[in-house]
């Protein structure tokens, strides 16, 4: 048997078809291994190694496939379930440091009975609640979050070096459901980029003040996107975020960016120097 690793972007089905050496875990956020029980029956074990930045994306990929393969439903009708499954897995991986183990019987195919049972169990919890009402509740929560955030940002401009009340709102939302909050913020940025760029910049300023552990790869992606905005204020907010997070990938993003405004170009150059300096 040869070792295999589930790679980002690779379908779980493809990954599942690869052979995994017995007793050896594959590297990466999702560890796969073949285990034998006392009767000699083999099964594939998947384990989320840690609550890394990529966790949400990985969980989403894996679980979306689980739902589609174990439930005879159209993908669109599975969306609320997928979200709950991601939440479930994220919570488990976050609060149990060893992560969450899922075992299924049979050959190294992810469509085994164990997985289906697990998925069905979680999905049944979702089915217990009227999906329409759930969607409505989520829409209401999003609308309430948006109204509060906008009100805070419009009432009081984000001032350099001074904490803003909206940061607490963002932190709370992240704490309750990180991937959900990131999704909301992405939506709000898309909504405001064209029509209200100053407001988008304010949102970005608050996002940039969150710890890098809270925003991770999503934050870098958001900042990278914002660097391509036509309004300098939005681009500056992105630079400030990358500066605050101080991540090496952020430096690479800044190095690749072609800035047309002289003052902002000078700022970016200094940030690159600062972040590349060993004595920060």
């Amino acid at each position: 048997m040869t070792s295999s690793t589930v790679q980002p972007g690779e379908s779980t089905e493809t990954a599942a078809s690869k052979r995994v050496p017995s007793g050896t875990e594959t590297p990466g956020p999702i560890a796969a291994s073949i285990v034998c029980d006392s009767t000699g029956r083999k099964s594939t074990r998947l384990r989320i190694r840690s609550a890394s930045d990529e966790l949400a994306a990985w969980s989403s990929q894996v679980l979306a496939w689980f739902v589609r393969s174990s439930q005879d439903e159209e993908p669109t009708s599975c969306r609320p379930q997928e979200a709950d499954l991601v939440d479930e897995l994220t919570r488990a991986a976050t609060f149990a440091s060893v992560g969450m183990s899922m075992v299924h019987s049979g050959s190294p195919s992810f469509a085994g009975a164990g997985f289906s049972e697990r998925v069905t169990w979680v999905a049944s919890r979702c089915h217990g609640i009227d999906n329409g009402r759930r969607r409505s509740d989520r829409n209401h929560e999003f609308a309430s979050f948006k109204a509060r955030l906008f009100s805070m940002l419009l009432d009081e401009p984000v001032e350099d070096c001074v904490a803003h009340p909206a940061e607490q709102l963002l932190s709370q939302a992240m704490g309750m459901n990180r991937s959900g909050a990131q999704d909301w913020l992405s939506r709000l940025l898309v909504e405001t980029y064209a029509s209200r760029p100053s407001l988008a910049a304010s949102i970005l300023r608050c996002v940039g003040r969150l710890d890098f552990g809270e925003v991770g790869g999503w934050g870098l992606h958001v900042a990278d996107d914002a660097l391509h905005h036509s309004v300098a204020e939005v681009r500056e907010a992105a630079v400030r975020a990358l500066e605050a997070w101080g991540d090496a990938q952020g430096v690479r993003i800044l190095r690749q960016h072609q800035e047309k405004e002289r003052w902002l170009r000078a700022y970016i150059q200094q940030v690159i120097v600062d972040l590349s300096s060993p004595a920060r």
């Binding site: 350099d160 001074v162 100053s198 036509s230 309004v231 204020e233 400030r240 940030v271 600062d274």
Partner: protein, 174 residues
């Protein structure tokens, strides 16, 4: 020290796609020139980066620990006489700052009305846009300035939040 310095958000002052090149976005006033009692807070300084850095330090962190954020700061300058020439008055007063040796440099500029506020915006905008009398201190520089000021006993570290102290690699003393 014939200049007056004030913290600004530089991006608010730059040209906007929806405005003519010489026009100034209103956000520049609402974000950077928010008066209180028809007065604005400024700091006396010389037109030299080293001296502006002292003022930057004074305005870099609020006194309220819960509100302190260590980040990049932009400071713009105007000559004091230009403010006086449009009918504004300068009143020296003790500044509300963590930096002991610049407290006495604080000035309340008083008697603002809408026209004078717009006039000050028109004084600042060309200076900021040309980059002639505006200084940017990145968060790394601000950190260095704070470390130096704490080393020189110009800033009491107990006045800084634990988060800021951690960023400065200084242990909290409690």
């Amino acid at each position: 020290m014939n200049m007056l310095a004030r913290k600004i958000s530089r991006a608010k002052w730059e040209r906007k796609p929806h405005l003519a090149p010489n026009e100034i976005g209103a956000d520049a006033i609402t974000a950077c020139l928010r008066t209180s009692g028809d007065a604005l807070s400024w700091w006396r300084c010389a037109d030299e980066e080293e001296d502006v850095a002292r003022v930057a330090l004074a305005v870099a962190l609020p006194v309220d620990k819960d509100k302190q954020k260590l980040e990049t700061i932009d400071v713009a300058l105007v000559p004091a006489v230009e403010l006086e020439s449009i009918g504004l008055s300068l009143r020296d007063s003790e500044g509300n700052t963590l930096v002991n040796d610049v407290r006495a440099r604080h000035v309340d500029v008083v008697y603002f009305d809408v026209d004078r506020l717009a006039a000050v915006a028109r004084m600042l905008a060309p200076r900021i846009r040309s980059g002639t009398q505006v200084f940017t201190f990145t968060s790394a520089r601000v950190k260095r300035l704070f470390r130096e000021a704490i080393g020189d006993n110009r800033v009491d570290p107990s006045a800084l939040s634990d988060k800021i102290l951690a960023k400065l690699d200084i242990e909290a003393s409690h």
